[in-house]
């Protein structure tokens, strides 16, 4: 690559777009030394997050979230299933995360994103271990019928912080969820009545008329920080993610408890103080995320 002096001289003569492509690390570190990040944010600042209803008419609950350009669309569909023999009083949740080719130039039809199933699993583990949903609440008739909740999250634009945006959209989708109305047929089977169903049947057979919303005890919120040399950089963009080798994801719930901590290896070793700093940043972030989500929920109730 030449002597450090050489590329330094070249850097000063080149315009910023070219140096960004050819010497990304130097470009980035020159920003960091000025306490700013290439997109103009202060060092410790995360991008603004937006949340809103997903407008997916065919789903029982849906939400769309944006963190910077990263866009996630989450949709929940509920079906009736027979619960397993060893857990007759519980329903089940299936979480799947997709990165279709539209979201990033790195995803191609023959080459699916490596990170997608990893985030799928991370989301599933976080949602289940956070205790957000009580599986017993998903039971309809013990041993005979329970809800199967399918949560599908599609990444429509991938620009870093995929897990954070996906978890946020999952939390929002569950908050907006309307449980479908269920009725008991003559053969004693439970079936879902579609929204435009017959008016005359509505009151007689409906089993769960009053129970259209899930009780959510506490919502999980997360923040991913990249660690680079001595810097902690919350909410990296995809360009920053290629330069950082180590990430720490902290998930807190609305009661302020630590739900999960994820640092999947990497050359940068994090001391306790670093982890505590990440937790503090996540706590700050959580207040903003929670506020936006509460506003979105109130707006939806008003419609």
């Amino acid at each position: 690559m030449g002597l450090p002096n050489e590329s330094g001289d070249l850097l000063s003569k080149m315009d910023s777009d070219a140096s960004r492509r050819l010497f990304p690390l130097r470009f980035y570190e020159s920003h960091l030394s000025n306490s700013t990040r290439p997109d103009g944010r202060p060092l410790k600042s995360a991008r603004e997050a937006f949340v809103g209803p997903g407008d997916v008419a065919s789903a029982d609950g849906s939400a769309m979230t944006k963190i910077g350009s990263t866009t996630m669309l989450a949709a929940i569909k509920m079906e009736i299933m027979t619960p397993s023999a060893d857990k007759p009083d519980e329903g089940s949740i299936a979480v799947e995360f997709y990165m279709p080719p539209i979201c990033s130039p790195l995803v191609r039809p023959g080459r699916p994103a490596e990170i997608a199933p990893v985030i799928s699993k991370q989301l599933y583990d976080t949602i289940m271990s956070s205790g957000m949903i009580d599986l017993k609440e998903l039971s309809l008739t013990s041993g005979k019928a329970a809800w199967m909740v399918y949560l599908d999250i599609y990444c429509l634009d991938a620009d870093g912080a995929l897990f954070d945006a996906a978890l946020y959209s999952a939390a929002a989708a569950f908050s907006f969820l309307q449980i479908p109305v269920v009725s008991l047929s003559e053969e004693g089977r439970l079936t879902i009545i579609p929204e435009e169903g017959n008016g005359d049947k509505s009151d007689k057979d409906v089993v769960n008329k009053g129970k259209r919303k899930l009780t959510i005890s506490s919502l999980p919120f997360s923040l991913t920080c990249g660690l680079h040399k001595n810097y902690i950089l919350p909410d990296p963009t995809s360009e920053e993610e290629t330069l950082m080798e180590t990430f720490v994801t902290v998930v807190l719930n609305s009661s302020g408890h630590l739900v999960s901590l994820y640092k999947p290896g990497g050359p940068v070793l994090a001391q306790t103080s670093t982890i505590q700093d990440c937790i503090a940043l996540t706590r700050q972030r959580m207040t903003d995320l929670q506020k936006s989500l509460d506003e979105a929920i109130t707006e939806m109730k008003m419609d």
Partner: protein, 241 residues
């Protein structure tokens, strides 16, 4: 079942020759070279274009023109029942091929040899006419990516139920078992690039229905041209022209 009431109203309250409400936006996927969303009634699709870029599979590289690839996939929740297979099934593969060939006809591929243009379409909500919505979205995405084209391609469908030609079928009307004619045209050049029909129709009625679909395509073309003009004005504004 009655698809057109005696007063002449369809199931969703439209008149037989009335199209569903259109809404399009360009530049919806920041990471893509070009992207657009297209909504026809309850059918919502997003198209993203990546390219021209390096050919992924060297053996497919063409020395005199660009390689065009297309993938159509539907979200799990896009239809009434949750789907298990979203792409790779026969229907998706067929639609991918149709979209690719339709658009390949209008892209000036000889201007970009040894490169690849990827067109990805994702259906978020399906209520009939997904093929047409995808082609319309892909046209806008290609324009957003500044890929040179002969003309835009617009598409619309039409059918024939209860002895009435109907424009822009929704899912219920499409599944009624009547004929479904999908047409794609190059509006300025006044040429038909895509024509698909299933079920049976007497020839004279087919001509009527196809003409109706072409009228629908022209209406979509007018709307798309408005969107493109608006987008260009925005670009000029941002450049300070």
């Amino acid at each position: 079942m009655e698809y057109v009431s005696p007063e002449g109203l369809r199931i969703d309250g439209r008149r037989p020759l009335e199209m569903r409400k259109l809404h399009a936006e360009m530049g919806v996927v920041a990471k893509a070279d070009g992207s657009a969303s297209f909504v026809m009634g309850n059918t919502k699709v997003i198209a993203a274009v990546y390219g021209p870029r390096e050919v992924q599979n060297r053996s497919q590289q063409m020395s005199d023109q660009a390689l065009v690839r297309c993938e159509y996939s539907m979200a799990n929740f896009s239809t009434g029942d949750r789907m298990r297979k979203q792409k790779g099934d026969r229907r998706s593969t067929e639609i991918s091929l149709v979209i690719r060939q339709t658009l390949e006809a209008c892209i000036l591929t000889h201007l970009m040899p040894r490169s690849q243009i990827d067109i990805y379409v994702q259906v978020l909500q399906a209520d009939g006419g997904t093929r047409s919505a995808c082609i319309n979205a892909a046209t806008l995405a290609l324009a957003d990516a500044a890929i040179p084209m002969r003309d835009i391609v617009t598409s619309c469908s039409a059918g024939y139920l209860n002895s009435t030609p109907l424009l822009d079928l929704n899912y219920v009307e499409d599944s009624a078992g009547g004929p479904d004619v999908t047409v794609g045209i190059l509006p300025k050049m006044d040429k038909v690039t895509l024509l698909q029909m299933d079920s049976k129709l007497p020839i004279d009625i087919f001509e009527n229905v196809m003409q109706l679909a072409i009228e629908g395509c022209k209406a979509v073309a007018t709307y798309i041209q408005e969107i493109l003009l608006e987008n260009t004005k925005q670009l000029e504004y941002h450049r300070g022209v």
